[in-house]
């Protein structure tokens, strides 16, 4: 790393430290830009959808709104992954599991909302339970007709799994690739379990056929737009929360764990507590993303637990720029837009492209799209700096360590 980056980065850090209560937000220039764009999108796009007539050039179709809403959910999920991977070095290859759990909790609420409008018309049991001849609702479906309870479960189900999983692994100091493999195994195991009809979550087909949410029909444009706006708000709030965490001293402890775990331990921090905190927080964010995703796509099935989904999240973050919260958001939206485009245009090459994207970004752009932009900016700054230095050549500003020390004042022998 050269001095220009250093100075840029360190000045940011310095400002964060010096600044008042809102320094964590005010000094995050790129973050503020990103939040402005998201905010503008959730204001303007609904207007273009609802108020502009469908034949106008400026009309945004409901299909597009749904698609963008889905991208926003992915963006929140990417934020969650970047928080643990980018800042704490925990490479979770199973984060799709938390997303799916949040989605299932939301799905269960919407299943209960169907009531007697299902194919079999049973007021209490969802269709798949009637089909399987279940006499009554399993105990773990109780309460899901209550929206508040379901929302609590959206947070608690991922949080509890993350807590138990994290407690066991972090305490045993499982790190690096071993941890990644275990997270992958976790999501795979959950996928197999949820495929079982006996689990009571709809097996293979999952939960679908949703009618409404809080009494609003899922088919109506208004509901779809509202879900899109909520997803945007969730991304904004999620970003602010993550930013607050990483700009706090806790965030610096996380970076310290990422860069030198045993050093952090010898400084006296309980590394496992910090990891557990950030892992559970991240799982809850992923759960919220899942809960917003399911009503927008209309289905949740065990496929969401599939390991490949979790790996894709990692690719979004890597492409966007690991360790930059706004990079994660950008990466998620960029890659998923690419996915939508290419799976439409050249469906058979998409997976190869995704793989290539990962390899290329890891090998050549370890800091992703955000890193490329920064490098370009930096080059420009360097050229300017070079010109300035050339003008006032001769004066060296760098002092030797011996000169600025009180104790170490001995002249060089």
């Amino acid at each position: 790393m050269n001095d220009t980056t250093l100075i840029n980065t360190t000045m940011n850090h310095a400002k964060v430290l010096e600044n008042s209560r809102l320094g964590w937000l005010l000094n995050d220039v790129a973050g503020k830009r990103l939040l402005t764009v998201v905010l503008a999108a959730i204001v303007i796009i609904p207007l273009l959808n609802l108020l502009v007539p469908p034949d106008s050039f400026f009309h945004v179709s409901t299909y597009t709104v749904g698609l963008l809403g889905k991208y926003l959910c992915y963006a929140l999920l990417a934020l969650a992954v970047d928080l643990i991977w980018g800042y704490c070095g925990i490479l979770s290859l199973g984060h799709g599991a938390f997303f799916a759990l949040g989605g299932y909790a939301m799905g269960m609420y919407m299943m209960r909302q169907i009531g007697d409008r299902g194919v079999y018309g049973n007021p209490l049991l969802p269709d798949f339970m009637v089909f399987l001849n279940w006499p009554e609702l399993p105990w773990y479906w109780y309460g899901f007709d209550n929206f508040a309870f379901a929302m609590l479960m959206v947070l608690l189900a991922p949080a509890i799994l993350a807590f138990v999983f994290g407690w066991l692994t972090f305490r045993s100091r499982v790190t690096g690739v071993y941890l990644s493999i275990i997270t992958q195994a976790m999501t795979y195991a959950l996928m197999l379990a949820f495929f079982q009809n006996d689990m009571g979550f709809g097996g293979n087909n999952g939960l679908t056929d949703f009618k409404d949410i809080l009494g609003f029909s899922l088919q109506s444009d208004n509901t779809k737009v509202a879900l899109f706006v909520l997803s945007g708000l969730a991304v904004i709030l999620g970003y602010l929360l993550c930013r607050f965490v990483v700009a706090s001293k806790l965030g610096r402890v996380l970076v310290s764990i990422r860069d030198a775990e045993s050093r952090t331990r010898f400084v006296g921090y309980r590394v496992e507590h910090y990891k557990l905190f950030v892992f559970v927080l991240s799982a809850m964010l992923a759960g919220i993303a899942g809960a917003l995703y399911v009503p927008q796509v209309g289905i949740i099935n065990p496929g969401e637990f599939s390991p490949i989904n979790s790996i894709e999240i990692i690719i979004w973050v890597a492409v966007g720029g690991r360790g930059f919260l706004y990079g994660a958001v950008i990466g998620a939206i960029l890659v998923n837009y690419g996915k939508t485009f290419f799976t439409g245009a050249f469906p058979e090459v998409w997976l190869f492209m995704l793989g290539a994207l990962f390899v290329v970004s890891t090998l050549f752009f370890p800091q992703g799209v955000v890193g490329i932009v920064q490098q370009l900016k930096q080059k420009r700054a360097e050229r300017t700096a070079f010109r300035t230095v050339a003008q006032q050549s001769g004066a060296s500003t760098e002092s030797t360590p011996a000169n600025d020390s009180k104790i170490l004042q001995e002249p060089a022998p």
Binding site: M1, A14, R252, S256, S262, R263, T264, R265, V267, I407
Partner: protein, 253 residues
């Protein structure tokens, strides 16, 4: 978070009959020695003498197979883990400088500053004036004042070592363990480091593990020679250098 005991202990560190075996290989073999409060002590020995294992035992990374290790006379270190031991007041400086490269020097010291290490305390932590002053003092002491807003990754090898010593000091430890601080340093840096270590002992005990004889000479302190996991000789540098056994271990064979 140094615990106040209200009296000066007889020994800061009391190591008695410690043996550590890895699959039958005895890395430490009935090792005994003590360190007094405020003492500066050098520990030397050929490769494989057990210097690093000794550090591991004191800092809780390795549990002794047999024997006892006491801190401040009464605290049995074998009962605590690394984080607890660090908070009890034992700082450890690794051979390879490990500072947090993507944080600034100031932030490195902020992390190490003594204070509550809890997760939620960290989340809402704000530095107060005294803490800032403390960081400024230490950053001056280790000679990095003008670079306080640099990323630690941009420092030279020697400067990283000093920053790490600063990080240990700011934890307010009673005992500092320093593993080969002079390795990879220029002669000038080496002599400055010796001066720094002499300066900081007194208020606290410092144990230095080192190979470099010039550096040991500059430290001008009692020396303990380890060999095959036990103490071979102890005394001034001059005395141990004239010890027959030491000469044989270092020069013979």
């Amino acid at each position: 978070m140094t615990i106040q005991f209200g009296h000066i202990p007889k020994h800061i560190l009391y190591v008695n009959g410690v043996t550590v075996s890895f699959d039958g290989f005895k890395a430490l073999n009935n090792l005994s020695f003590t360190v007094a409060p405020g003492e500066l002590r050098a520990i030397i020995g050929p490769n494989g003498a057990g210097k690093t294992t000794m550090m591991d035992v004191i800092t809780g990374k390795v549990k002794p197979t047999t024997g006892e290790v006491f801190f401040r006379d009464t605290i049995d270190l074998s009962q605590h883990d690394e984080a607890e031991i660090a908070n009890l007041g034992i700082g450890r400086k690794f051979q390879k400088p490990t500072v947090i490269e993507s944080l600034t020097i100031f932030e490195n010291l902020e992390l190490a500053l003594e204070g509550n290490r809890g997760v939620f305390r960290s989340l809402f932590h704000k530095l107060d004036g005294d803490q800032r002053k403390r960081i400024d003092e230490i950053v001056e002491l280790v000679g990095l004042a003008e670079k306080r807003q640099w990323l630690a990754g941009a420092l030279s090898h020697g400067q990283k070592q000093w920053l790490e010593i600063g990080m240990l000091l700011i934890q307010g430890p009673d005992l500092l363990l320093v593993d080969e601080p002079a390795a990879g340093m220029t002669d000038h840096e080496t002599s400055l480091t010796a001066k720094l270590l002499r300066e900081i002992s007194g208020e606290r005990s410092v144990v230095v593990v080192e190979h470099d004889m010039e550096f040991i000479k500059a430290l001008d302190c009692p020396v303990t020679v380890l060999h095959e996991g036990r103490v071979l000789a102890e005394g001034t540098l001059e005395k141990v250098q004239n010890n027959e056994e030491v000469i044989e271990v270092y020069l013979g064979r």
